[in-house]
């Protein structure tokens, strides 16, 4: 595995320039060689035709085939091949002419660049042999390989870097290739180098255009509110096509320090999706923590590549590029390529990195949208809470007091009773509003009340029940810390019984603090099974309550449903005796 080095600011794919200038070099070279060689006009014509044919192609694979076909024709070779050298000095592609598919299949694997082929890779200059097998570097042929003896090999350079070698075997009508053959193939190799470069530049241009189009479309989608998952899926799909990959995954960092494959496209997409891998000890984790792209070129044997490459998969190479966000790294994009294909080159890695930046942008945009929504909601809540407090409660209180003050004046008993009931209703309403205010501002609170709220909503919301919570007296400061663990245990037990057995639609939780701490949990369900009341958890809590001088009862409530009531002395208040 290796980190992918960057010596510039990651600016651009190679410029589409200077290619045409090299044509003059080519013409000069051909002229020079034409003078030196005394080739027949006929063969020069073939050379020129081949150069033209090769030069007109724009698609790299067809250019390579045209080169080999032209070379065979130029020097009357029975077999021809062009081997492309990879970054590690081995042949990564082998384009052949003269060997049919059946023969090729019988030979088995393609040459990797040992023996004579390796010699040419190590020493890139023309090599002409009458008998291939007699050379000291010869490795011999694998079984089922057609016999070859005369040999001519010439390096093909692109911008002074050896791209590969042109190999020709079995001169027809002669025992060996001639010096003239070597000159002609040398000239063709120069033209081939230029054609390859042109094809590459054309390919770069194409891909760059696809990349820009893809990014523009993705950005447009993001700005018009495409959900982040859809945006990432689109990014993965485009990366798959434009980087020429066989599989693409987008791994996002989760709060507990793992990377989860959130998006998966290409080979084994469904099996890989949703799996997680640790940051420590993985290549993905290295890209995540260092912020630099990583390459793994033998994933099946590299322990730093985990579940995301399945056993027996044909993935040969994986690139991990970080999703670098504004404050932190957000995750990693993982791009794999299968066996039998060339490795990702510099330009493809840049494309992958461009998609990684795009994915980071999509995630950040979605998160900042969520952030704004959340903060907006919190502000709304605070505003509503303020309004309830400053207006609604004040008015209810004032009305309640007016009713209270006229109650003694009511002459009829029935009227007095109604006034008293009205005041009670108002008080209950004020208490509920106060609970609502607290719930609205819950994010600002810590302490027992907040804990009760969270516990109740945690259990009840998931079950789809409504909950009503009321507090009486000082709770956070007023309840002795010693009774809190039992209090929460009773509450949890009561709530989960309601959720599991009661078939209720609403739960009423009331917690009061004074000389005693009193908790009441009632529901509107069908009641609890008898054996439940004797269950050890409940029995244990009942015993503890009694030991403290309190009580714990589970009983049918008068209005149907179940009522759990738990009461214990507010212990520290009880003990020091100063409480009136």
């Amino acid at each position: 595995m290796s980190e992918i080095e960057r010596d510039d600011d990651g600016a651009a794919l190679p410029q589409l320039a200077a290619a045409h200038l090299r044509l003059e070099d080519l013409l000069g070279e051909l002229q020079e060689r034409a003078v030196v060689i005394s080739a027949s006009a006929d063969r020069l014509r073939i050379l020129l035709e081949t150069v033209l044919a090769v030069g007109m192609g724009l698609d790299l694979p067809s250019v390579l085939r045209a080169i080999v076909r032209g070379a065979c024709r130029l020097v009357d070779a029975k077999y021809g091949a062009l081997g492309v050298i990879g970054p590690d000095g081995h042949l990564i592609e082998f384009v052949t002419i003269g060997v049919d598919d059946e023969t090729r299949a019988r030979i088995g694997h393609e040459p990797e660049g040992h023996g004579i082929l390796g010699l040419l890779i190590r020493e890139p200059r023309a090599l002409r042999l009458a008998n291939l097998q007699e050379h000291p570097d010869s490795f011999g042929f694998p079984p089922n390989h057609p016999p070859m003896s005369s040999f001519l090999g010439v390096p093909v350079k692109v911008r002074d870097v050896v791209f590969g070698n042109l190999y020709l075997c079995e001169k027809e009508g002669a025992d060996a290739f001639s010096e003239v053959d070597e000159e002609l193939i040398g000239a063709l190799a120069v033209a081939a180098g230029i054609a390859i470069e042109n094809a590459r530049l054309y390919d770069d241009g194409q891909r760059r255009e696809q990349l820009l189009t893809a990014i523009a479309e993705i950005n447009l989608g993001l700005l018009s509110g495409t959900p982040v998952v859809a945006a990432l899926d689109e990014i993965a799909t485009r990366a798959l096509a434009i980087a020429g990959a066989d599989s693409v995954g987008i791994l996002l960092a989760e709060p507990d320090g793992v990377l989860r494959v959130s998006i998966s496209r290409g080979d084994n997409a469904d099996e890989i999706r949703g799996t997680t891998l640790p940051v420590a000890g993985t290549a993905a984790g290295d890209a995540f923590t260092t912020g630099r792209s990583q390459r793994v070129d033998d994933p099946s044997s590299d322990p730093r590549v985990r579940v995301e490459v399945l056993e027996g998969s044909s993935t040969k190479e994986v690139i991990y590029a970080p999703l670098t966000g504004q404050d932190t790294c957000l995750g990693v994009i993982r791009v794999g390529r299968n066996k039998g294909r060339s490795m990702f080159d510099e330009r493809e890695i840049r494309i992958i990195e461009a998609f990684a930046r795009q994915a980071a942008l999509a995630v950040e945009l979605a998160r900042s949208r969520d952030d704004r929504d959340l903060l907006g909601r919190l502000e709304d809540r605070e505003r509503i809470a303020r309004n309830l407090h400053d207006t609604v409660i004040q008015r209810l209180f004032a009305v309640g007091m007016m009713l209270q003050s006229i109650t003694p004046n009511a002459t009829r008993d029935a009227d007095r009773d109604r006034l008293v009931r009205a005041v009670d209703e108002i008080d209950e309403t004020i208490r509920e509003i106060r609970t609502s205010i607290f719930a609205l501002e819950l994010h600002q609170h810590s302490g027992l009340r907040a804990e009760v709220h969270e516990l109740v909503h945690d259990v009840v919301d998931r079950a789809g029940l409504d909950a009503r919570i009321t507090f009486e007296g000082t709770i956070d400061a007023g309840i002795a810390p010693e009774v809190v663990p039992d209090l929460l245990a009773v509450l949890r037990e009561a709530l989960s019984n309601t959720v599991r057995h009661a078939q209720a639609t609403m739960v009423d939780v009331r917690l009061a603090s004074g000389d005693d701490v009193e908790l009441r949990v009632s529901d509107d369900g069908i009641g609890l099974p008898d054996d439940l009341r004797r269950r050890s958890g409940l029995a244990n809590l009942a015993q503890r309550a009694e030991a403290l001088g309190g009580e714990f009862r589970v009983e049918p409530s008068p209005s149907g449903g179940t009522k759990v009531s738990w009461r214990v002395p507010n212990r520290s208040a009880y003990q020091d005796g100063s409480h009136a």
Partner: protein, 217 residues
Amino acid sequence: MGPMPKTRVFLLDDHEIVRQGLRALLESQGDIEVVGEAGTAAEALARIPPLRPDVAVLDVRLPDGDGVQVCREVRAAAPEIQCLMLTSFADDEALFEAIMAGAAGYVLKQIKGTDIVDAIRRVAAGESLLDPDATKRVLDRIRNPPEEDERLTTLTPQERRILELITDGLTNRQIAEEMFLAEKTVKNYVSNLLAKLSMERRTQAAVFGARVLKQSD
């Protein structure tokens, strides 16, 4: 023996309807006389000391300030005036405010349950209504803030300021402008801050900030 002198009460609440209701309730008792009213903190501070009521009933939230401050100033000028805080918050907040104000007690805005008439009589007789255990716990909490506030103390003043700005919803660029820093510097501060709070995201920090910064204000 002449009639018992009435308990003289002053009312401060910005809702006139509340003052009217309270006045009607208190004066119907016979032994309580409302000697003055105010709707703002400034009016209250001007009127209470010369009137010398036995008990001042002070609403906590006021348009031009808060009852806590009024209570402190009244008690500083005339310690013999007893104060009762009147609040529509829950008991826990009310208790906290009463302690901070140096009041003798608090009454929730609730018609039954908390008997304001009884509270006024007891306070006028020199009794404190604050439960000593609960008061002690509140004071302990102020002295030993909960764990979450401790995370705040790990931040440098600079990081704390940045947390405030994140809570206000500013971007790194806006924070940079606000604090005359390079955007890159802000980015570093934010990363450190998130690491110290063991958080991953700005929102978490913003929600945390909304909670602890407001609490400790």
